[in-house]
Amino acid sequence: MSKIVALRSGGGAAASNANRPTLATFKGVDKVFANRVTALSGLDLEIRSGEFLSLLGPSGCGKSTVLRLLSGLTSPSRGEILWGCDRPEFGFVFQEPTLMPWSDVFSNVWLPLRLAGVSKEKARARVEDALAKVGLAGFAKAYPRQLSGGMKMRVSIARALVTRPAVLLMDEPFAALDEITRLKLNDDLAELQSSLNATVVFVTHSVFESVYLADRIVVMAARPGRAVAEITVEAPPLRREGFRLTATYADTCRRTSQALHVAMGEAPPSELCQ
């Protein structure tokens, strides 16, 4: 992690995070698209098993490309991705709910299992379990268009969970939702992650969302996309609404914002979290 400035290390939560086994390591990864746009340049990044990692940065910094590389949808132009042990099972949540409008909620959540050849009857228990986890038990027969934006996103999360993946990749999943729904889904996601003990890689451009949810925040810069700073959130993993009122939260927000401003090539404002 030579290129990344570790802004702070040590502390309770940070220490336990550092002890986690490595899930994947990006070593000098470049990604150049066919249209010659450089999405990532020399990215070094370590993802640890069981952590909640947030990738934060302006648009065009290659956050989403990191997720596509992890999920195997695309491969690096240069450099390599090393896996801690075997390549794990992934669940993916897009910015849009990305549901099949012609299928009811059950069939949408069943999809990953269906593609793996699991019959409807055999999948039933797991689909219902996944729906219960996101608070949508009893909605199996509804069609996507009958649901609100937040509920559609819950279906999308249930679909990602149904294969019981070790890693959940989330690409700005709550960016299109209203503030109230987003806060509620943030809490539910935090709870889910701690109960499932899954690794979450969460792409966002919200400083506050990052700090509230993540164990570790990697700040990325654009043109070319690269990691420029790493911030460890010094707080116990499962946070509550009250966390937003603490000095730790305010302080981490301030530092994260400053790092983000530096990443965007601007002078960091001196008073951010007032």
């Binding site: 596509r68 999920s71 195997g72 949808l73 992934f90 993916f92 897009f94 849009e96 990305t98 099949m100 409008p101 012609w102 299928s103 999809l111 990953p112 269906r114 593609l115 793996a116 069609y143 996507p144 268009r145 294969t163």
Partner: protein
């Protein structure tokens, strides 16, 4: 039936009724002879007296229209599916499909009549007219699946067949149905135009031939009656295809959202 529905049906019906009354009144007042402009009452009575001839012609035209539409559905969906498998095949054949579409059918009909029997030529003409909107729409539909869903299918290592059956076909359905509604009307138009070009008489003659024949004989009321039957057939095809489309899409597609109460 609520108030809006009532107005929705009553207003056009009233307009139609008033139009017919004015038409009837004008014809009677100016004493216009039926071979120039028949009154609505005479057209209706002609429809009844000539029903044996007209109904058999209606059946001929309708059966050609439906056969052509069915053939167009099978042909266009098959071709669109082949196009969806290979960009190269699409490039190779699509220009010819466009050329078929832009060449007026009346211009092709005389040529077809050289090679084919009149009935088959008329069927081929109606097929050609109905084919293209279905092909264009289904091809577009098959390639317009949500790209995030395509990614998702790839991520879960779906087979090409799974992706086709579970994603591309359902994505294409609304496009196909929109094409079907256009083609339903066009198949009838194609059949009528080709019948006029063919000008075939006798037992197997359709409604278009009845119109041409009535023109020669100055039997204008029968001409109007045949025209009325063609309109009613066209409207019926449209209404049935719209109902079919609604039946397939009402549970999920946004275009059907307005009809939800």
């Amino acid at each position: 039936m609520n108030r809006d529905d009532f107005i929705g049906y009553a207003v056009p019906a009233l307009t139609l009724g008033m139009g017919l009354v004015v038409w009837e009144a004008v014809v009677r007042f100016f004493d216009i002879p039926p071979y120039l402009l028949p009154a609505p009452s005479i057209i209706i009575s002609t429809l009844f007296t000539d029903w044996p001839t007209l109904s058999s012609s209606l059946w001929v035209t309708l059966s050609i229209t439906l056969k052509a539409l069915l053939a167009a559905v099978i042909g266009s969906v098959t071709l669109a599916v082949i196009f969806a498998q290979s960009r190269l095949v699409e490039r190779a054949f699509y220009p010819f499909a466009v050329a078929m579409q832009v060449t007026p059918i009346v211009a092709i009909a005389p040529l077809l009549l050289i090679y084919l029997s009149p009935t088959v030529a008329v069927l081929v003409c109606a097929f050609l007219v109905a084919f293209f909107p279905l092909l264009a729409n289904t091809t577009l539909g098959l390639s317009s699946a949500d790209h995030n869903l395509v990614d998702l299918f790839q991520m879960y290592r779906s087979t090409r067949f799974q992706q086709f059956m579970l994603l591309r076909l359902p994505s294409a359905l609304p496009y196909f149905l929109a094409g079907l509604r256009i083609s339903g009307g066009l198949a009838l138009i194609g059949a009528i135009v080709a019948e006029i070009a063919a000008g075939s008489a006798g037992q197997g003659s359709g409604l278009a031939y009845r119109i041409v024949e009535s023109g020669f004989r100055l039997n204008i009321p029968r001409m109007f009656a045949a025209l009325l039957l063609i309109s009613v057939a066209g409207i019926t095809i449209h209404v049935l295809l719209t109902a079919f489309s609604h039946w397939l899409l009402h549970e999920w597609h946004d275009s059907e959202r307005a009809s939800e109460t």
